[in-house]
Symmetry: D2
Subunit: 434 residues, 4 copies
């Protein structure tokens, strides 16, 4: 047991009136909602990168945190980091975690050494997962931080980088498979461009698609049962990324023939950066049949970059979980906190409290969403609006021709009268469940 958390014990549910900062007020893991304990619905996961690998830097300043596992280029420190990470998972009662290769092991002098170090850390994880019961929600390869990936991974103009990316993903998938990860995620941090002037967009997009196919084929080859997920993001670090948003990814999946094989991991902050609401991206993914998992965080609405803050707005989170529940809830997916402390939040306690607040916010939002769905009033109102479409004539119109549909106007003397969309009434209704 490290002393990083100063003897703090596990965070317990104490209910809404607790005065204890280090307690859950809204998240009672065992509370049964819609027939299942909350913890099985929410499937919380901690992100290794933000909490343990990120050092507090931003474009205008370097590291602010001081952690006993710095410097991070030594294996001993990587092991200490793993100790603290699993302590935190346990303190928080988080059933899952997620990681990139680069979060958990220092880069080696060669690819082989990097992979061996990853495997060594996987041995440690395997043991700790056994001991603690913590599971792996997903693994992924970091193909954006190292200098070699500066112009992309699978979309790099240099085919050797494509090979390197293949090797990186293979190594990470192998580890994810060994650790029984429930998903494998691809985030194409630099699969995009800085300027069209030096970019062959068609070629790069084709390579991205081919790489994805190879990944899926490899998944089947090794018998990995988890889902392959793509995490869309419109930009940052690049000016424009190929997996811009859910709709864009869908077009790529169709071209790849993978729309039944691959789903999306939707991040609130990325939705916002792309000009969408979180619930839009969730609803669209569900409509397209490619909803997989969520990266829960919040983006500052007045900042133009990805701020990855802990969620704290219950009404917003409720609308997101409402879409998740309408999609049938999570299967392999879960609620991964892709959220980091502000760089001024220096203390070990902050690390705990950021997650406690996020988990409480999610629980409150989720429970409101469940009440809303169970009550059924919102769905009733929505469906009532489309009643006309359930009739035989309307359905026939869809099957027929433009001319048939057009002919109805004069034949039946149609002069459609608008009816209220009742947006404010529905917004009020939503607020009743919060």
């Amino acid at each position: 047991m490290s002393d990083f958390f100063n003897g703090l014990g596990p965070i317990k549910y104490e209910g809404p009136t607790s005065e204890n900062d280090f307690a859950f007020r809204r998240y009672n893991p065992d509370e049964v909602v819609m027939g299942k304990p909350l913890k099985e619905h929410l499937r919380f996961s901690i992100a290794y990168w933000h909490s343990f690998a990120w050092e507090g830097g931003d474009p205008f300043g370097g590291r602010t945190f001081e952690r006993p596992w710095y410097p991070q280029d030594e294996m001993d420190n990587a092991r200490l980091k793993a100790d603290v990470a699993f302590e935190m998972f346990t303190l928080l009662g988080a059933p899952f975690f997620c990681f990139h290769d680069a979060d958990v092991r220092p880069e080696g002098a060669t690819f082989a050494e990097s992979r061996d170090r990853l495997n060594e850390m996987a041995d440690i994880f395997e043991r700790k997962m056994d001991e603690t019961g913590v599971k792996l929600l997903w693994g992924t390869a970091n193909m954006f931080s190292e200098r070699r990936f500066m112009s992309g991974a699978a979309t790099n103009p240099d085919p050797d980088v494509y090979a390197y990316a293949a090797a990186s993903v293979k190594a990470c998938m192998d580890v994810t498979h060994r650790l029984n990860g429930e998903n494998y995620v691809l985030w194409g941090g630099r699969e995009g461009y800085e300027t069209l002037l030096n970019t062959d967009m068609k070629r790069e997009r084709d390579h991205a698609i081919r790489f994805l196919q190879q990944v899926v084929e490899y998944k089947h080859k090794i018998g990995f049962k988890g889902a392959i997920l793509i995490e869309p993001k419109p930009q940052e670090p690049t000016k424009h990324q190929y997996d811009y948003d859910v709709a864009t990814v869908y077009g790529m999946l169709k071209d790849a023939g993978l729309e039944k094989e691959v789903q999306v991991n939707i991040e609130q902050g990325h939705a916002i950066l792309a000009g969408h609401s979180f619930e839009h991206e969730l609803a669209l993914a569900t409509a397209l049949g490619i909803f997989g998992s969520i990266d829960m965080n919040r983006n500052d609405y007045q900042s133009g970059w990805d701020t990855d803050q802990f969620p704290n707005n219950v009404p917003e989170v409720a609308l997101a979980y409402y879409e998740v529940l309408k999609a049938g809830g999570f299967t392999t997916g879960g609620t991964n906190f892709d959220a980091k402390l502000r760089r001024q939040s220096l203390d070990a306690e902050d690390l705990i409290l950021g997650h406690v607040g996020g988990m409480d916010t999610c629980a409150a939002g989720f429970k409101a969403a469940a009440r809303m769905l169970e009550d059924g009033k919102l769905e009733e109102a929505r469906e009532a609006r489309y009643t006309g479409w359930n009739g035989e004539p309307a359905m026939q119109m869809l099957e027929g021709t433009l001319e048939d549909a057009a002919a109805r106007v004069e034949a039946e003397g149609l002069e459609p009268q608008p009816v209220s969309g009742r947006q404010e009434r529905l917004e009020n209704l939503v607020n009743r469940y919060l």
Copy 2:
């Protein structure tokens, strides 16, 4: 001949040093570039709506313009409007125009009357087109201004509105066909939602797709030879539109099975609203094989809505035409000025000068783009960056498996070294042609 333009004669090319406001400085219609006169490359088109139907209102104030064809709800005034419109097309030497049904005829008391009025105006257009040689770039149906369409057209919760939309499109396609329009455009102004709370996104998207299929079937039935174009726009008037951007439309076309049948009409302002550059949308459409035509204008970079201003920045326009030329230039498409005067630009002269400036800007940008493409240095630099991919081993890697590619890393001891992307050098190169 109306006296709206106060006896102004046709705008002539007078060259860069002319001091005459009412002359072209950069657009010489007969100047041969890449083997073809400029006018055949650029295929300028005037938009009926902004120049003749819009009255200068904005969300905070009503009409500012005073035109002899107001009020627009009388057929006599519609005829006068047509006179002035064709006078302007002729004064500017614009080879094409575009219109919505609602721009050219007052709404009738019934659908039949509206259609008859449209047909009557088409008779007038037919005669004027004969007389002037002006052609129709495209027609389209306005399915967003009338109250009946407030909740969408093909995506309306009321199936009768779907029928009404079908009748509207049929009438407009019939007229477009009769007038030998080179394209038919669909802009889904209210095919989107104001709030997800009352919206069945999957159903509405399905209806939009089915409607599109019916439109394409009808095109073939009547033997219309023009292209069917969708004009993407992310939002405004709705909070979120189904045809958000090129990538989104592509996914819909794939679902509709229409990616070989339908192309896109890309507007600069809509690209900007969606968070993309104009050249991005053009390059993506070309990469996806769905580039059709352009709505040329400019959006104010500091305004969050669609400002539809005349283009005036030559370097930006050059990058756009460079993509058009790389796509092989226009076939059925053209350069439609979807641009309107500022509402303080009250005079008939402003209407002429807005277009003169826009045409000059386009001509200057186009010629720079042509020089750039003919010179070949930019394409050389781009291709050089991907040289590695032309080798046999790289191509094999794409055909093989993830494991094959991965295996190369250790087998060949790959340690890829980044090379400069040379963005600034290429930006300088572009500036040499401007």
Copy 3:
């Protein structure tokens, strides 16, 4: 009694568990909070323009609403509109209302006729105010809708428009004074520019300042006891407005010598458009000593224009009222709903429900803010962070010279150590009160 609201009775407080759409769940007007009934804290006001004058148009479509007081260019209809307006104020139990001249009377053929009509409506208001007890929060002149103001009012290049603006403000201030308005508001809807190319910014800004001085002088002359408020907005309708945000207005007030005479009316939507949070603008106005009143609404975070929706997010509203309470609460100011129905919300019921939801949201947010302030933990934490500044040496440092301060570093061997900013902890704390 009109039958516009179909016999609906006054909205009553029924508590959080009520199933009645037409009831308050969170707003109990007589609930005492911090020693005063809620209604005296919140000072709700209904905006005449959005609810009664706006017809549902947007830049892509015309009127959607059907109201018995249309067309609005007849005095009889203006009287009917007033009847319905006061019925609604009464149904909602709103203690205040606000109006522009143009909301309440049709424009006359001359200025004199316009003013006479305004006065006639003021007679009606006076009587209705007596009967109902509803009071006037503020009046204002609409100097942006009519064609004459297309290039600004006090900042118009034409001095005759300045005169017209003076006459308009004088007439509205006279009426506001007569009706015992608690404030008079200036929103400079077109006091800005479309293009710098035709604008003398210094001159226009000087005129805006001089106009403001004249307004303040007139206020004193007639003995109007209310506050003069400026409502900042960054843009829309213009590209850039002179009263961009609170900080910009402050600079103008300083130049006018009016920073003690004039305050600001802060609108949530305008704050967002200017790139600020609502609470930022409130906190800054308080810091500068110019906080006056609020226009409560919400802007869609994904739309780039002013959407003026009813507030529905309690946590956001709570942070806003927290700043209001820290500023000492409202004196002459209040909570004016500068919010409009969505244009698809056609029914009289929607008009009621939009306000009911907004009032409940405000009440819930306000009560949370009050608990937070009374509890004191947040203020304690904030103050603790600055403890060092309360010491004598720190205070002396501010009074001394740069050299004195600098000298301390070496003299005292200063090596300041950062301490956690505890943002997440504080965000969790806030959530406890919601």
Copy 4:
């Protein structure tokens, strides 16, 4: 002479038709424009930080550049860096440079050591400036990168940090004074907040103001003749900075009583981030009498953060210099390239070419602006619009009362008629000079 630039000789002007990448096409330093050589108008300056201190990192990846002066925490490398820097200044013929303390010397173990190192580098600079004729446009203190400044410098909750900031500024001003810098700049990178929850905005703003006063007093004490400049920026790294934009800084200067003592250094990218055009900020600063200098760069319009790219759009730059010329041109100010290579632009050549392109773009824009101003047509058109204000009655109206102005409406039967703002005509006019 280092071999960093591989024997490249000085960049020469070769005219627009040159095929040489390493030549100026538009910037002829000795070309006389409006009576003065271009180099004396433009006063180009190279920024030490972007070109020599920044290592190519971004939030998602570390250093991409490889420079012989890495690692930068050794004084020997600082000296080598200075050698290369002055070589580049000379190669480019840049008359000025700018630096932060942290750019030029490694941080020492104590403040005293840091300062001594700065002084040692200043000795080197002094000698090199003598040898090369390169001058110092401005110096500044980096008070945002080091961990101690994470919560601000002068606005830090810890008074010891205020002292440290005072010591830092004093040391940098001393050096700037010694090197005959023409200005001293303050950019308050972290003078803002991350969350209002832990921030006393009034106190922090007061401290920022007091600090500024101390800086100005110190300037006078040491007899520094240069200008003190504040560089506004709205956000990034913080959520919200106190020196948000020109208008905000003006309000602070008024409160400080320093509006005659301090000017602004306006950066294109910061203007864009604040929601303004570059020319707006320049025109406003001129109108307020606080225009000082410019940080020339360009921000990507589709990115929400500060991209600091080299300018390449001549029409945009022309509008900026037009405002500079209208302000009378630079006095102590100049054109500082606060611009960095893209992180993929790895080569020494890119460093040269980025600046060559930027200088050519600026020269082309400047010359167009000069032609435009000399020709006078634009100013004539602007002034003509305000002719009415030059008359006696209009001027009297400004001096009189609101009632006087109002009385004119009925007395004179005013019914002002709008006249065209002619925006498109003026945009066309501007394009003639480009």
